[in-house]
Symmetry: C2
């Protein structure tokens, strides 16, 4: 695809890697600094993103806008871009339910904006073959073409809006759902005085399992604040599909209890994590 | 421990292996055939268990009674044994919540029966070092001594009733909870038309994962009918500990939808499993 002006809302840890992949493909990347944190400003400056200041200026400047934000903010971001009179291709790459994606897409279509449903699987895209942006919609192939030189991989799932979001939901349902489940299990075992016995049994069955559980549970705490919204989107996705939404309703509770560890540099000791998970009990039993 | 007369209620796939381990330690094993299936009768006969006919006769004959039954039946079995005037050591080895275990234990103590809390982790105990009967209670060591020659392993978790059940709940929360979660994910992906894409992404991350998921989901169907009760016990255990009970409330729903595959010899094809999981949707959309 010939060089485009692409807006990235907002260049967080994932968004900046997508911006870098777009630049690697010869596109110019813009962002809107109004109201953003100094950490985001520094990140955007470091990668040479063009700052339009306001969302209105970005919406006027760019032919493509990619939304990469916490799930709870996705619909609001889409609405704001529409309000600014944007009329290019809007890519929602957020971890939101197919239903919500379809709703945003309809709103965009009614306003004459081309809508592409996106779902990112993997860590921030700095290495080839690690991170895939799944895409669905009539203009999905145009967006895929923007990233053909990598390192972000893309895959088009067809024209039906919702499929990329559905895949993201189903994938994260296991990865993030499992870590939430393990967190709840450790906290329950701690509360009932059988944590050591559980670890011993796990070690008996698989020498590395217990240690990996601790690592995974500790490592997830820094991102937990935004995983709770994602779990609610997955819960809603499951319910819409006729399956029980309770797994991820529970996962959302777990991640909310861990939200206090937002942006903590080093993972907290497991005892601190368990303390946070059991906080409701501690408070009520005082 | 010197040879005892031990009653096993009821010798199913797991119970018969515990009976065999007791026999291997020189104990005489009894059971009560009244009202049991022909499959159970054949199993008990094959292993030379003594049939007392009624529960009353078994309760009079045995110094130790071990309850190994589906979780929903555990409290009823304990009550019936008490009603028969049993006055030895009663071991509840079922997958029930610590709260329910404690309640049964108190009832037993009030009637002068020694109560031991048990939790079995592993498949039926035919090989050494594969299956452990965890035990808690004042007489836990006496029960462990009954199995010292194996192949059933035992481990005493102390005198506090509820610890063996707690460990069993926390352990099964992961193993059975995860298979239920994977079942729900596959059915959701199927319903949303992204099952193949999900399998491809899973295979990208781990070549064996997708195939193992199918195997685990298909293999669990034959036992699903009794796992739903176990998931409800785990849900209740989590709630009592101050953690969300919804993970396993959802797992109970999943296993109830799979109950139709009870005792199916060969695991059903994945399409049949998904059909059963999506049955509510299919019915309501007809």
């Amino acid at each position: 695809m010939k060089p485009q002006r692409m807006g990235i809302l907002y260049p967080g840890a994932m968004g900046i890697s997508i911006a870098a992949s777009a630049q690697n493909n010869g596109h110019q990347v813009y962002w809107a600094s109004e109201g953003r944190s100094s950490a985001t400003r520094e990140r955007a400056a470091k990668f040479g993103l063009h700052d339009t200041g306001t969302l209105a200026a970005l919406s006027a400047e760019c032919s493509i806008v990619v939304s990469v934000c916490p799930p709870h903010a996705a619909e609001d971001v889409a609405n704001k871009v529409l309000t600014c009179g944007f009329n290019g291709i809007f890519v929602d790459a957020n971890a939101i339910s197919p239903e919500r994606t379809i709703r945003i897409g309809q709103m965009m279509a009614e306003a004459g904006v081309s809508f592409v449903d996106g779902g990112i699987i993997g860590e921030p895209a700095w290495k080839p073959n690690t991170t895939c942006l799944y895409l669905a919609g009539l203009r999905a192939a145009d967006i895929a073409a923007c990233f053909s030189a990598g390192p972000l991989a893309t895959q088009v799932l067809g024209a039906t809006i919702g499929k990329a979001s559905a895949l993201k939901m189903c994938f994260a349902a296991y990865t993030k759902g499992t870590v939430a489940l393990l967190s709840a299990i450790l906290a329950t075992a701690e509360s009932l005085g059988v944590r050591d016995a559980l670890l011993q049994q796990w070690k008996h069955d698989d020498p590395n399992f217990a240690e990996n559980v601790y690592k995974r549970v500790r490592a997830v705490t820094a991102k937990a604040w935004r995983f709770s919204g994602e779990m609610e989107e997955i819960s809603s996705t499951f319910r819409d599909a006729g399956l029980p939404g309770e797994f991820h309703a529970a996962a959302a509770i777990i991640y909310r209890r861990l939200a206090q560890f937002k942006d903590s540099g080093t993972p907290p000791p497991i005892e601190e994590v368990l303390g946070a998970l059991l906080q409701t009990v501690n408070v009520s039993s005082r």
